[in-house]
């Protein structure tokens, strides 16, 4: 019999970034008693790091914009692998989600006539990103945080308790989703501060935990991005979709080493910044792929004119989708035309007056000044690709955000798959959080409050197993049965560093078959060693222990990425195979699903030869004809297989 503390809620939201907070607001407004649980302090989630803006076809700056144009851009950016219904809902609902933020107190930058200003970004045909300088994510998270507080203030007036209907459990981690039969029954959690375990009983769980970047060495992601939600869903029996697609943002800082990977916003290019190699050449003109030839400027002069006269000129190729720019930078560096610290030059200093740079890109100015001693108003930045975002994620129903196969489980934001296809456009992430966060919260609340015939019950055996799993790092000193004596426990920090190095080197921006096979071997080795990851000290705020637990998730998710990447023998979006460099129209119809090999949910697969993940191929649903009709036939033939075109 377990003795952990238990609390009952209708909806539990795991993660307090944009998607999680928006889901919680929706669930609470729908009448569900809602708990949010997050690893960091309330208001610190990774969403704060989003810089450029929220993509929404409001048409405030160019009235030619509408949801159909946004939908087209999103599919082009994702190389048509997107779950098209998600892309449709996203494009249609994003403006309402942005305007709603204003009614909650958000203050976006304004146009001359007092509406929300919108800026250019890679892959977006019109200026589309609502923004606040280059700190849009902070505005988003603060607005949602303050909306949550305002709902709590309402509840306080009515019930005398701020947390009667909506509570944030901050600095707590979920290690297992609990189930009765197929259905979700709750979540097993620990408080980071005290190390105490507790269980939240709830029929609905919304997973909104973000991404996986901390499995890679060079990344723009924070420590929280350990693939927790991906792993929780897998362990609960839900499949992950298209995990091979990982976005390497083209512009991360490359020097000094301690800040390598920190993001340099795409707004730098959106506002006029250009990329040059060591010979001073704007090399992006050499890298415009065939599918985009008609849409981008062929000369520097035309590209420069576009900023002032976008109706009669084409955009500069620095604003190609991120996957294209990242590969181009990688090629230039490889060809020996890189900058001194292994990147290329990103220059705004010769393109805009100093005071304009400081006004439009204040945090970039600050970041380079403080961390690299570089004054971006006077000299070029050095930048290179950095692991930024995972397009793959939990396979969900487009309309309800329900995870496949596990009633009561929902997913929204980066942790959900499908929306962005093989590559995400800048600015589409913040809008994704709001659109699908809201949908997930609504449907999770409807499911929880509409249950007939009693709620799923939490099983004490599962609770005890989860507790034992979480405590294992404290007793890792002894040798495993049958193993030789005297082997010291593994250091979780060392294991983590080895994992990051392996994923970076072997399953990074350019992939080769033999390297990915080597990665899978390395992952198997790490998985066995991770069983022996030991920690010192006690349970109170112990970062070594927390990391040892997060390793399980990173190893699971890394295996998904490596296996799916090995399987997909083509190059598309955030998946580039040196041995299969072309995009293959036949692969467009293929989704790769990752499932747990051991469906009992245990992690018994410690045999080094046998991995934890099985891959399943599935054919995607045909794109609805009225959505296909938004494209010219000449464009569709580049993406779709013959039989799809004539169906």
């Amino acid at each position: 019999m377990s003795v952990v503390d238990r609390q009952e809620w209708d909806v539990v939201v795991v993660g307090a970034g944009g998607a999680g907070l928006r889901a919680a607001i929706a669930a609470r407004e729908r009448g569900a008693r809602t708990a949010v649980i997050c690893k960091s302090l309330f208001g610190k989630a990774h969403t704060v790091m989003a810089e450029g803006g929220i993509a929404a076809a409001m048409g405030n700056v160019n009235s030619g914009d509408n949801w159909q144009v946004h939908f087209r851009d999103t599919l082009r950016g994702g190389k048509f692998l997107n779950q098209w219904r998600m892309a449709e809902l996203h494009a249609q609902e994003a403006p309402d989600r942005v305007w709603e933020l204003e009614t909650w107190g958000a203050l976006f930058d304004r146009t001359g006539d007092g509406r929300i200003s919108q800026r250019n970004f890679g892959g977006h045909e019109y200026p589309r990103l609502a923004h606040v300088g280059d700190r849009t994510g902070l505005e988003l998270i603060r607005t949602l945080q303050q909306k949550i507080v305002s709902l709590q203030q309402e509840d306080f007036k009515e019930t005398g308790d701020y947390e009667s209907r909506l509570k944030v459990y901050q600095e707590c981690t979920v290690t297992r989703i609990l189930k009765e039969g197929d259905r979700v029954s709750g979540a097993f959690c620990y408080a980071r501060e005290s190390g105490r375990f507790f269980v939240l009983d709830a029929p609905s769980v919304v997973v909104a935990t973000g991404g996986i970047g901390k499995s890679f060495k060079v990344t723009s992601n924070s420590w929280e991005y350990t693939g927790d939600g991906h792993a929780l869903a897998l362990l609960a029996g839900a499949p992950l979709l298209n995990m091979e697609f990982v976005q390497f943002h083209p512009t991360g800082m490359v020097w000094p080493p301690s800040v390598k990977g920190i993001l340099v916003t795409e707004s730098v290019r959106g506002d006029g910044g250009v990329l040059r190699n060591s010979e001073g050449k704007r090399f992006m003109f050499e890298y415009i792929p065939d599918v985009f030839k008609e849409k981008y400027a062929q000369s520097e002069e035309e590209g420069d004119r576009w900023y002032e006269d976008p109706d009669h000129n084409r955009r500069p190729p620095e604003l190609l989708p991120r996957d294209e720019v990242a590969r181009a930078i990688n090629s230039e560096v490889k060809a020996g035309r890189g900058s001194p610290h292994g990147g290329v030059f990103l220059d705004v200093s010769t393109r805009m007056p100093a005071e304009v740079i400081r006004r439009r890109l204040p945090s970039m100015y600050h970041q380079f000044k403080e961390l690299a001693d570089v004054d971006i108003t006077a000299e070029a930045m050095e930048v290179g690709p950095t692991c930024h975002y995972v397009m793959g994620g939990i396979a969900v129903d487009s309309d309800t955000a329900a995870a496949r196969g596990v009633p009561g489980l929902y997913a929204a934001g980066e942790v959900a798959g499908g929306m962005h296809g093989s590559n995400r456009l800048g600015g589409n992430s913040l809008s994704d959080l709001l659109v699908f966060g809201r949908r997930a919260g609504l449907h999770a609340a409807e499911y929880a409050t509409g249950l007939t015939g009693g709620r799923p019950l939490v099983d004490d055996v599962q609770v005890d197993e989860a507790a034992a799993e979480a405590l294992r790092p404290f007793s890792a000193e002894g040798p495993a049965p049958g193993e030789e004596d005297g082997r010291p426990p593994e250091n979780p920090y060392t294991l983590h560093q080895e994992l990051q190095q392996a994923m970076n080197d072997l399953v990074g921006i350019i992939r080769r078959e033999a390297e990915m096979e080597a990665a899978l071997d390395k992952l198997a080795d790490l998985r066995v060693r991770a069983r022996r990851a030991g920690v010192e000290g006690h349970r109170q705020f112990n970062p070594g222990w927390h990391l040892a637990l997060d390793l399980r998730n990173m190893l699971l998710v890394s295996e998904c990425v490596a296996r799916a990447a090995l399987e997909r023998t083509e190059s598309r979006g955030g998946h580039t195979r040196e041995d299969h460099p072309a995009m293959d129209r036949q692969w467009r119809r293929v989704n790769l699903l990752c499932q747990l090999t051991d469906p009992t949910g245990g992690l018994t697969a410690t045999d080094p030869l046998h991995g934890q993940i099985d891959l399943v191929r599935e054919t995607t649903e045909p794109i609805r004809p009225d959505l296909l009709a938004l494209f010219e036939k000449e464009e569709l033939v580049k993406y779709l297989a013959e039989e799809e075109l004539y169906e």
């Binding site: 909650w104 930058d109 501060e193 800040v259």
Partner: protein, 258 residues
């Protein structure tokens, strides 16, 4: 690239007490204090507790005191110290210690709940808001706040005066009141809420005697005192007598009210 070994003193302990622990640790070019704390975790003290997230000065998690000064660990470069200097890292002094460099910052979340939220204007639907850039500039400056709580930590009203915490919201949340008060479309007035008055009566604005310590430690460079607190005091003055504003107007440094 040049490396050297730096000497560190890091406070370790918990609510029951603790003390400074000595470390010698490698430092490389371009590193910040948080890098060094991470190296200590990875090589010498795996259970050393520290809060951090973005490591890019955007989330405000890694607040601590370095050589007694409230700072973000991720934005303090090692190059600002000499190689001979011993660097002392301690937890935020104004808040109760949880463990090592981690403190209980719950005070701030309590205060955040006591500031009434933005009140949307009647008769304006979503999408109908019109505001000029110059009218939102000031509130936008305050919304740059990353809630690192360094201002709350350094403010002498509460730094060594636990007894003032009940009545005083601190610079961050007085600035929040100012932000909403200056929001061009906030309709608090129409709903019977006088933000200026609550700043005085409920959030302890009168305790602030504009020593500008908060502004000095703000990593975002927000002029908390000059742009938020003093104007708020001036706007509140016709509601309540405040000796500082009165004095300011007497010696000709500020005009009273607007």
């Amino acid at each position: 690239m040049s490396s050297y070994e730096a000497r560190f003193k890091v406070w370790r302990g918990d609510v029951g007490g603790g003390g400074l622990e000595d470390f010698g640790v490698e430092v490389n070019d371009g590193e910040v204090v948080l890098d060094i704390i991470h190296r200590l975790q990875a090589t010498q003290a795996p259970d050393l507790a520290v809060r951090w997230n973005c490591k890019a000065g955007k989330c405000g998690s890694c607040s601590a005191e370095i050589n007694g000064r409230p700072r973000l660990l991720c934005m303090t470069r090692m190059s600002v110290f000499t190689r001979e200097e011993t660097i002392t890292v301690t937890p935020l002094r104004a808040f109760p210690v949880v463990r090592d460099l981690v403190t209980d910052v719950g005070f701030n979340y309590t205060k955040a709940r006591e500031v009434p939220a933005f009140v949307p204007p009647d008769g304006l639907g979503a999408g109908e808001y019109r505001m000029m850039q110059e009218d939102v500039d000031r509130s936008q400056e305050f919304r740059k706040c990353i809630e690192c709580f360094l201002c709350q930590d350094t403010c002498h009203v509460v730094r060594d005066h636990e007894e003032n915490k009940t009545a005083f919201a601190g610079p961050r949340f007085l600035m929040r009141v100012a932000e909403l008060d200056m929001h061009p479309l906030d309709a608090a007035d129409q709903s019977g809420l006088d933000r200026k008055r609550t700043a005085q009566d409920e959030h302890g604005l009168g305790y602030c005697n504009i020593t500008k310590c908060c502004t000095e430690v703000c990593p975002e460079g927000i002029k908390i005192t000059d742009n938020a607190l003093i104007p708020l005091k001036e706007r509140a003055v016709d509601r309540k007598y405040d000796p500082l504003v009165w004095l300011g107007s007497k010696i000709g440094r500020r005009s009273p009210g607007k």
